[in-house]
């Protein structure tokens, strides 16, 4: 009983500073961010996204150059958008948005956000579970299944979900520690698995690599039923696959712990290891699978990694999924917790973990992963644009930042109008303009900026004398 109480007290004592600036002595160094970004972006999704470029017929040159440019743009977005605003405000995305848009708007946004995060975390738990079944011979569902098809699958998903939830319950520190430990090993496995299979592709020296890459791996010819990817597809995919995190500002939750805004550049560890080396490595593994299986359209990350790197490869798939699910669950917990600040973060994370684990039992989550990643960034992006303009531009135009807080209002219609109009125009551009979903983020951001400025101008009314904007740089508390 004493042990139980001490664990509860320990969990209750975890303070993630959801509604206050991070104290100065809680700020973290480069190492923490390099570790968590490397862990988060060398993840289960890489076993799916790398092969996507092969399936969509990206050429070797388009892939190498497109990933380089797209990843650089992503890192710049993390530093100049998320990093600068995180250090200026020291608040979570959720609390910052509540100050701008009001608590009623935040309630809706947080529920949407938490649902999206649960969906992503659930998919990653499912990816991990597909690998666990290999050494234990558990009958796993195929990626075409929608419902769980065996008790073994459900038990496996629940075991991984439970471990993921418990780690996430202990907050950022535990997530960061696990990611730090797993990341260096994980990238070694990705590289080793790909290098080890090169002779089977006919690559026996460095000079063989590029000709084989062009003729056998990234041939430029899409698989049957897949659209053709060009340089622009690869570049925008690399830039916007984490749009929710950088331009959408979700990573304010992490980067508010940074000592300097330049720590946003630490995201380079994640994108260049995970979205460059790991995507290339998993593409190589998938190409070998396609060649040796006569262009089979079935796809299972676990067996592919196991075939290339043995048990270590299968463990890598499990842990890669886990290190994505962990911070995602943490973020979902924060999103829900911000609805009612009195709720303990760990209790909320436990609840979110349970829902996520139940959802992960349905293989349809993995089947829809690619469509989901695209939508997820696009849905959250307009609120990142709102925060950016609110923090940097509104006051220069004679308007008020944090308008809902200043007006003591629970709902700022300017933000809701911005969100709705941006998404409606994006849907219109997609359906009637034929613009593919991964390109929509760029015009969408400018639409959001324009709509928010105009709607704020129309909606904001003069404040009673004596009330001034509180959007000056936040003073860091010292303990």
């Amino acid at each position: 009983m004493q042990k139980k109480n001490s664990l509860k007290e320990q969990l209750d004592a975890i303070n993630e500073y959801e509604r206050q600036p991070i104290p100065k002595n809680k700020l973290k160094s480069w190492g923490s961010f390099i570790g968590i970004y490397a862990g988060e972006h060398t993840a289960g999704t890489e076993f799916v996204l790398g092969p996507l470029f092969v399936a969509h017929g990206a050429s070797a040159m388009d892939l190498v150059t497109g990933l380089l440019v797209g990843n650089i743009l992503a890192v710049l977005s993390w530093a100049f958008f998320t990093g600068k605003i995180s250090v200026k405000t020291r608040l979570t995305l959720y609390y910052q948005l509540e100050k701008i848009a009001g608590s009623k708007f935040s309630l809706v946004y947080n529920l949407v956000n938490a649902g999206l995060f649960c969906f992503l975390a659930g998919a990653m738990i499912a990816v991990s579970a597909t690998a666990v079944g290999i050494p234990f011979n558990i009958a796993m569902p195929t990626l075409t299944d929608i419902l769980p098809n065996s008790l073994g699958w459900v038990v496996t998903v629940f075991a991984i979900g439970a471990i993921t939830t418990v780690v996430a319950m202990f907050g950022f520190n535990q997530v960061s520690k696990f990611a730090n430990i797993a990341a260096p090993w994980m990238i070694m496995i990705f590289i080793a698995a790909a290098v080890g299979v090169l002779p089977r592709l006919g690559i026996n020296s460095l000079a063989d690599f590029w000709p084989v890459a062009e003729s056998k791996i990234w041939t430029g010819i899409p698989l049957e039923g897949q659209s053709k990817f060009t340089f622009w597809h690869v570049m925008f995919f690399a830039w916007f696959c984490n749009m929710a995190m950088h331009i959408g500002m979700a990573d304010m939750s992490l980067l508010r712990y940074a000592k300097k805004w330049q720590y946003g550049f630490s995201s380079a560890s994640g994108v260049f290891l995970g979205h460059y080396i790991a995507w290339i490595a998993s593409g190589i593994l998938y190409s070998l699978f396609l060649i040796e299986s006569n262009n089979s359209l079935t796809f299972a990350p676990g067996p592919i990694a196991y075939e290339a790197a043995g048990i270590a490869g299968a463990i890598c798939v499990v842990i890669a999924g886990w290190t994505t699910a962990n911070p995602t669950l943490y973020r979902a917990g924060l999103a829900i917790q911000s609805i009612n600040p009195k709720w303990k973060t760990w209790k909320v994370t436990l609840f979110v973990g349970l829902i996520t684990t139940i959802a992960a039992c349905f293989p349809a989550l993995v089947m829809r992963l690619l469509e989901f990643v695209a939508l997820y960034g696009l849905i959250l992006m307009p609120l990142g644009a709102v925060i950016f303009i609110d923090v940097y531009v509104l006051e220069k135009m004679g308007l008020k930042s944090n308008y809902a807080e200043l007006k003591n209002s629970k709902f700022n219609p300017a933000v809701a109008i911005t969100w709705a109009i941006t998404l409606i125009v994006c849907v219109f551009l997609n359906i009637f303009g034929g613009i593919e979903i991964f390109f929509l983020g760029l015009p969408g951001w400018f639409i959001a900026v324009l709509v928010y400025v105009v709607s704020s101008k129309l909606i904001q009314k003069p404040l009673p004398t004596g009330i001034k904007s509180q959007s000056k740089p936040t003073t860091i508390l010292s303990n």
């Binding site: 973290k28 430990i181 260096p184 090993w185 496995i189 080890g196 043995g310």
Partner: protein
């Protein structure tokens, strides 16, 4: 003691990565490479937690 764990961790990473290059060079068989990678994996997760996070703990600022 932390130095010993660091050395063992780097040996573990080497055991995870290098065998595949030896397979690429035709020096060892893939089966041996997979075994060495698994041993490297176990060694990494036994030793890295003993030093990796500790060396990155924050220095409290005044």
């Amino acid at each position: 003691m932390p130095l010993l764990f660091k050395i063992l961790s780097f040996i573990a990473l080497t055991m995870t990565l290098i065998p595949s290059f030896l397979v690429f060079q035709g020096i060892i068989e893939p089966s041996l490479s997979k075994t060495l990678m698994f041993i490297g994996t176990v060694l990494w997760f036994l030793t890295a937690p003993r030093w990796l996070n500790k060396s990155q703990e924050e220095t409290l600022e005044e």
